[in-house]
């Protein structure tokens, strides 16, 4: 078969000239190209992955749960702005104590000891002996040494930093963490202890000491004072007595915490203190020269704000804007492939029914009748649930359950074409059946094919959205429908910035394909006028 490229090009050029005169078609094509562009450059628009997580720290919230968009903070309150929203604050600049001037002024940490016990308490930074063992990025050593028989009672050692909290409202979630190592205890025991020189743990018999204590985080507003003891959560110990070796102390609270609410810790903007408080209890004078050493490393506090990014976060603190961007991929993927599949199936069946006629026609049309009669959406749901929730299955199902209407259109068109005189002429000159179908009938239904391709995309997109919204979604991908499902599942209907964008996107992309389809219909099938 000879292909005349010049002719094809000319024909395409003519088509383009007519198409570009159609305003609706251009609008539709523009919107589609916009979404295609977004789908292609998605990774450049947002640093987060399609679930809205930081790819380097999966399953970690970016901001507090269901944070509002950050521009709501700047918006005047009359326009719906919320000036009390806060943003993320990373309080500690250098949690690993890697710099040698760690002490204020110059560094960030203050040390206060009360009552003043003079040289008995020493706080210093050491290059070796931090966590994880073997790394030389520094740690803080708090050592208590008693010479003679004097008993000091309770000694509180605070290691804290002062920082400005600039937001009027409290943070959504506060995370505190520290690695603690204790050397020494009240009981004589064989313990694993850190050997600085060998940079390793070893078993060593530790002498009986008289000193014990506990440890907690604290945070306070400086001009208010008082200080909130933020005890490590139940899973993590706070009593130094029971521990040896490295252990993690952690505390996490959020706005809904039953014990200490975020707005009591951070009532307003201002200067705050945050730190670790060690309370040494030196009551007994059993032995002379008692000694205790506490090592601190990775002391960190992160305040996750109640506002984030362009569209805020979902329940798990994932970026909604990234989900919206990547949703375009899912919708286009499902929509286009489903449309291609259903149109190809419809075309083949329509051609066969229309041209072969008789038994084949009767059989194929009855099959399509039956499929039309079965309830579409419930059937799709059941089969999707059985086959497994993956996007490819959805495309296949959409293709196999959505060809009937187009097959009927093609069939009626073929029925009218096959009676035309040029087919008769071809047949008279000895053309075979397949030659006639591919050379004469198919080119005459191609106009319908393009139109139907465009017009069956919205149905597939909406069906994907509906399935995802009902909870039948591919767990690896976040689509617009699933965004709305998560919204509904966590009762966030009042958060309009979460509800409106996905729906608008679905609507825009569907309408765009419909406009394109109608425009193509106007240009390619001027005589048919099947619609409108």
């Amino acid at each position: 078969m000879k292909v005349d490229i010049k002719f094809i090009f000319r024909r395409f050029w003519n088509f383009l000239k007519i198409f570009l005169r159609n305003k609706r078609g251009i609008a539709g094509l523009g919107i589609i190209l916009f979404f295609v562009f977004i789908a292609l450059v998605g990774p450049f628009l947002t640093p987060y992955n399609q679930l809205g997580e930081d790819p380097n720290r999966p399953n970690m919230p970016l901001a507090s749960s269901e944070a509002a968009p950050s521009w709501l903070r700047i918006l005047p309150a009359g326009l719906g702005g919320q000036p009390t929203l806060s943003e993320n604050v990373y309080v500690v600049r250098d949690p690993t104590f890697s710099v040698s001037n760690w002490r204020w002024p110059g560094g960030e940490w203050n040390v206060s000891v009360s009552p003043d016990v003079g040289l008995a308490v020493d706080v210093r930074r050491e290059e070796q002996g931090g966590y994880p063992p073997g790394t030389g990025d520094g740690c803080l050593v708090v050592s208590f040494k008693r010479t003679g028989t004097q008993v000091y009672g309770n000694v509180s050692i605070r290691i804290y930093k002062e920082f400005d909290y600039p937001y009027a409202g409290p943070p959504g979630i506060g995370n505190m963490k520290a690695n603690v190592f204790v050397n020494g205890s009240v009981h004589k025991a064989i313990r694993r202890v850190w050997n600085v020189t060998k940079s390793d743990y070893e078993l060593r018999e530790v002498d009986v000491y008289d000193v014990d204590g506990s440890l907690w985080f604290f945070a306070e507003k400086i001009d208010v004072g008082g200080g909130f003891k933020l005890w490590p959560t139940a899973d993590y110990p706070s009593l130094l007595l029971n521990e040896s070796g490295f252990f993690v102390v952690k505390n996490e609270w959020d706005t809904a915490s039953p014990l200490i609410k975020a707005d009591t810790i951070f009532p307003s903007s201002g200067r705050y203190r945050f730190g670790v408080e060690i309370l040494l209890i030196d009551h007994y004078n059993v032995t002379e020269n008692a000694e205790l050493e506490v090592r601190l490393d990775n002391v960190d506090m992160t305040l996750l704000g109640t506002s984030w990014g362009l569209l805020g976060t979902d329940f798990f603190g994932r970026d909604l804007f990234a989900q919206l961007i990547y949703g375009a991929r899912v919708s286009l993927y499902v929509g286009l492939l489903s449309a291609v599949l259903s149109v190809v199936i419809g075309l083949v069946i329509g051609l066969a029914a229309g041209y072969l006629g008789r038994i084949a026609d009767e059989f194929l049309m009855r099959v399509s009748d039956i499929l039309l009669v079965l309830p579409g959406l419930p059937l799709l749901l059941v089969l999707f649930a059985v086959l497994g929730a993956s996007i490819e299955n959805l495309i296949i199902l959409n293709g196999f359950l959505g060809w009937m209407g187009f097959a009927k259109v093609v069939r009626s068109q073929v029925l009218s074409i096959r009676e035309r005189s040029f087919i008769e002429a071809a047949r008279a000159s000895g053309a075979g059946r397949s030659y006639i179908i591919f050379r004469h009938v198919l080119p005459n239904v191609m106009g319908l094919v393009y139109v139907s391709l465009a017009l069956s995309v919205p149905g597939a997109i909406v069906s994907e959205a509906a399935l995802s919204w009902l909870g039948f979604a591919d767990p690896r991908r976040m689509s617009w429908g699933r965004m709305l499902y998560e919204m509904q599942a966590h009762n966030a209907i009042t958060k309009w910035w979460w509800v409106i964008p996905p729906g608008l996107c679905i609507a825009a992309i569907s309408v765009a394909f419909i406009l394109l389809g109608y425009a193509l219909d106007d240009v390619l099938n001027p005589k048919l006028r099947v619609r409108r």
Binding site: V373, V511, R532
Partner: protein, 351 residues
């Protein structure tokens, strides 16, 4: 082909379609993974013999054609078996669900037809104008929107922000509680022993409570489904009307000096109504299955939520029954549309 032959042929064809649907239904769920006996009877609580007994009782060892015949005869007798979740009769459950769906779908389809046809006529009359374009584009956009999103937006605006309408149940939540009983707008009293003298009392206060309670709770889902459907009727009416308005007899009527409204509604719409009516029948048939989403948004206790729950809990008897009933509704809708067409337009019978 006479009218009678046509009707008989359509009826026979519909019945064959029903049989095929039953067979398909059987095949689909026969091929599904999962053993209905283990779903029905917890294997840990039964001994092997008991399990055998149960299986033999339910006919697990019958050959497949016996199963199929049993299934067909059961369905034709409206027997759907027992729901694996509630252990209640599926038929009875469905009878409590179906009215809610029919109410929702019926109201919204009627509303959609009225709004869509009226707008369609006006739009066709003023075709090419701004009113035409804006209406066409708006109806295109609305019908492209996902139903659940329309519902969510309505809830967001009218239920959450304005607090005009509740959105959880089809009737107020406190109805049926000890302090607030269900309203009884009608009380039927028989005065004497003879059943012939019956007095029906209408309590105006209770009637008002009844109507307002149901209306406030059903207005949002009905509006959702109406918005979803009306665009199709608008576009169809517009297309048919534009075609009709160019016919000669309309020009003649205009020349005779017939009023514009009379031309539009008496001359044109009457002749254009055939495809609209058939479209309405088909829509009604198909939307019952599509109401699953609207019902889930508003937790409406109709067929849709029933099917959804059944899918989530692998409740096959419920699914089989609802598929069957939905298919029958669709077949009935097609049959009605066909018969209507055939009676009014004789050309169809030969097509």
């Amino acid at each position: 082909m006479g009218l009678r032959t046509y009707i008989v042929k359509r009826l026979i064809y519909s019945f064959i379609l029903i049989l095929i649907v039953i067979v398909l239904n059987f095949t689909i769920f026969f091929a599904m993974p999962g053993d209905p006996y283990t779903l029905f009877a917890n294997p840990q609580r039964f001994t092997k013999e008991q399990e055998e007994q149960i299986k033999r009782f339910w006919g697990a060892y019958d050959p497949w054609h016996v199963k199929l015949l049993k299934y067909i005869s059961n369905l034709l007798r409206w027997e759907f078996g027992i729901s694996t979740r509630t252990r209640g009769s599926v038929g009875q459950e469905m009878m409590s669900r179906l009215p809610w769906t029919l109410y929702l779908v019926g109201c919204s389809t009627v509303l959609a037809v009225i709004v869509g046809v009226l707008l369609g006529v006006i739009v066709a009359h003023r075709r090419g104008g701004i009113f035409d374009t804006s209406n066409v584009v708006f109806s295109l956009i609305v019908s492209a929107l996902p139903t659940f999103w329309i519902g969510l937006m309505l809830i967001l605006v009218f239920s959450v922000n304005l607090k005009w309408f509740p959105h959880a149940l089809p009737y107020p939540q406190d109805w049926g509680s000890p302090t607030v009983p269900f309203p009884r707008p009608l009380t039927v009293n028989s005065i004497s022993e003879g059943a012939l003298s019956i007095v029906i009392n209408i309590d105006p206060g209770e009637t008002l409570r009844y109507i307002s309670g149901y209306l406030a709770h059903s207005i949002l889902p009905i509006v959702t489904l109406t918005l979803f459907q009306y665009g199709a009727f608008l576009l169809l009416t517009r297309a048919v009307m534009i075609e009709t308005l160019t016919e000669d007899y309309i020009t003649t009527a205009k020349a005779k000096g017939v009023g514009e409204r009379t031309i539009l509604f008496k001359h044109a719409l009457k002749n254009a109504s055939l495809p609209i009516i058939t479209q309405a029948a088909l829509y009604f048939g198909s939307i019952i299955g599509g109401a699953i989403i609207t019902e889930t948004v508003f937790s409406w206790p109709g067929m849709g939520t029933w099917i959804y729950d059944a899918i989530v809990t692998n409740n096959y008897p419920v699914l089989m029954a609802s598929f069957y009933v939905l298919a029958i509704t669709m077949i009935a809708a097609i049959l009605i549309a066909d018969l209507f067409y055939g009676i009014i337009d004789p050309r169809i019978r030969y097509g």
